[in-house]
């Protein structure tokens, strides 16, 4: 006869204690401050209030700021997806030389600071910059134009800096696709487009979801890139938050926009996680 001993309480395992330093550290120095920021934004001089949010959403300028933020983030994400999706297939299927060139060009910029890259884009986007020269040379533009301090310039610079975060998650799934799947489809008479839509696309979709989520949430919250590439004329939630704390000393406004940013970011994270799970991915 076997005796079933009651399992010891999981909390009594000593190995649990190893998690304590890191978890406590983050609770004290990260989670509590965030909760406090959240709580404080709902507390006015006379108790609980939604006042700051009502004021914020009543101002048409603030709607403009939200539209700017989301508009730029959508554009950056689309540019990254358009380049990154085919590029991640190339990365998975390239020969040794091209693959190394691609890996270096993806990983090297990742290890260089955003200030350096945004500064370089300031040079590239000027009236006498490389892009303007190329566009004039191939006849797209009649005369040199300045892209710096325009929305197009900001989208281009941000897409450049975030592109690796689109390619890497998609690549991680593309390299797992068994090429025989598409061959099997071909043998069974499926046309190339049909094969792509029914076999390849569904397999890579979880990677697309996590790439889109990365790039979108980074674009929503970028701060250094817009400060250098478009300036104060064009405000986003993030630059407005930074400015209200660093220059305007308007902590009330800053906390409100910070909480809105936080809600946006958290919903992107939760939404993309849910979507990736539904698509049956490991991403």
């Amino acid at each position: 006869m076997t005796t079933v001993r009651a399992a010891p309480s999981p909390w009594r395992e000593p190995v649990v204690l190893l998690a304590a330093p890191a978890v406590l550290y983050l609770v004290v120095f990260y989670a509590l401050p965030l909760l406090w920021l959240l709580a404080k934004s709902f507390i006015g001089p006379a108790g609980l209030t939604l006042g700051p949010y009502i004021d914020f959403f009543a101002d048409p300028f603030d709607w403009r700021v939200i539209a700017n933020t989301l508009g730029i983030a959508v554009q950056v994400t689309l540019v990254c997806l358009a380049i990154g999706y085919p590029a991640s297939f190339a990365l998975a299927r390239a020969g040794a030389v091209l693959q190394i060139a691609m890996l270096v060009s993806i990983i090297l910029p990742l290890s260089i600071g955003v200030v350096v890259k945004a500064f370089a884009w300031q040079i590239v986007l000027r009236r006498d910059g490389v892009i303007s020269q190329i566009l004039v040379a191939i006849g797209v533009w009649d005369e040199p134009q300045r892209l710096l301090f325009t929305e197009a310039g900001l989208v281009l610079g941000a897409a450049n800096i975030f592109l690796p975060f689109m390619i890497l998650p998609i690549y991680s799934l593309v390299k797992l696709i068994d090429p025989r799947l598409a061959e099997a489809g071909a043998t069974l008479g499926a046309a190339p487009l049909y094969r792509f839509l029914r076999i390849v696309l569904p397999l890579t979709l979880p990677g697309v979801v996590s790439g889109v989520a990365f790039v979108f949430s980074m674009s929503v919250s970028m701060y250094v890139i817009p400060s250098l590439l478009i300036g104060d004329r064009f405000q986003t939630l993030s630059t407005l938050t930074g400015r209200s704390f660093l220059f305007m000393r308007n902590e009330q406004l800053g906390s409100t926009t910070a909480v809105i940013l936080l809600v946006l970011a958290v919903s992107v994270v939760i939404g993309s996680g849910w979507l990736a799970r539904r698509l049956g991915g490991r991403a």
């Binding site: 999981p10 395992e13 190893l18 998690a19 330093p21 890191a22 978890v23 550290y25 983050l26 120095f29 990260y30 989670a31 401050p33 965030l34 406090w36 380049i83 990154g84 085919p86 590029a87 190339a90 390239a94 060139a101 691609m102 890996l103 270096v104 060009s105 993806i106 990983i107 090297l108 910029p109 290890s111 260089i112 600071g113 955003v114 350096v116 500064f119 370089a120 884009w121 300031q122 040079i123 910059g129 490389v130 450049n160 592109l163 690796p164 690549y171 190339p192 487009l193 792509f196 949430s217 919250s221 701060y223 400060s227 930074g242 910070a258 909480v259 940013l261 936080l262 970011a265 958290v266």
Partner: protein, 266 residues
């Protein structure tokens, strides 16, 4: 090959080529501008010169900022490695409820807007009575580096065969020695990749650091941005070239030790 397939292939290789050129552009431009003689970096420069490198020595505040950044990055990476690894062991070995949520919680600072985290910390630290910039920077940067360590070490630990530790103990090692002689070497690549990315993330951080600087304590990105805004000359390009070299060096070492493809694992 059908026309559709040919078109798809063309798009794929064009995207690949474009990606390489596009991603390398800022680095090439920064390096090229640093060797130009003109103060308004025109490309190609009218003449080559090293004057911006000579200016590096003269510009005040750059060297202290670099040292501050290196110190903060080294301290926070070491601290994150220590507590992050312990935590990853607990998450892999323990059978307590909520492990999944704890892992998500530890990686979450990566996914939230840096500026928001910075503001929350600024106010939170103030409320705790912590006002000194340097210690606040150190504390904040552990939060920045910890996710990198937890993510990578956790991934590597799930593949580790813990019965190896029992084997080492059967062969006469005590538990700490077994950890040191068996577990640590097995986790070597994970330690290396994660500390590399953690270190670089700390060196690069702007949106959190900006809230913990004062006249004496500034990190490199903050000093650099301030410099660009005050006098936009290629001195910044000279520093950038130095940072590009540092990144290339790190990458070469990383490639030698764990391989380039491994570094691209996401």
């Amino acid at each position: 090959m059908t026309p559709t397939e040919r078109l798809a292939r063309l798009v794929m290789w064009m995207a690949a080529l474009f990606t390489v050129v596009f991603l390398m552009t800022p680095l090439v431009v920064a390096v090229a501008a640093s060797f130009g003689s003109s103060a308004v970096f025109t490309l190609p420069p009218p003449d080559w010169s090293l004057r911006w490198y000579q200016r590096l020595a003269v510009v005040r505040g750059l060297l202290p900022a670099l040292l501050t950044s290196l110190e903060v990055a080294a301290f926070s990476t070491a601290m994150a490695l220590a507590i992050g690894t312990l935590c990853a062991i607990a998450l892999v070995r323990g059978r307590f409820p909520g492990r999944e949520s704890i892992a998500t919680f530890l990686v979450s600072p990566l996914m939230l807007p840096g500026l928001v985290v910075g503001i929350a910390m600024l106010q939170g630290f103030k409320a705790m009575g912590l006002r000194e910039a340097y210690s606040s920077l150190l504390i904040a940067h552990v939060v920045i580096t910890l996710p990198y360590v937890v993510r990578t070490v956790l991934g590597s630990l799930t593949l580790f065969d813990f019965s190896l530790l029992d084997a080492a103990r059967t062969l006469g090692c005590n538990y700490p020695t077994a950890l040191l002689r068996v577990l640590v070497p097995a986790l070597g690549p994970a330690f290396l990749t994660s500390s590399m990315f953690a270190f670089l993330a700390s060196m690069d951080n702007y949106p959190i650091s900006i809230f913990f600087t004062d006249a004496w304590t500034k990190t490199l990105p903050i000093q650099m941005l301030q410099y660009v805004e005050e006098n936009p000359d290629p001195t910044i390009a000279a520093i950038s070239t130095g940072l590009v070299l540092l990144a290339i060096l790190t990458l070469v070492i990383g490639d030698r030790l764990v391989g380039l493809r491994k570094l691209a694992d996401f």
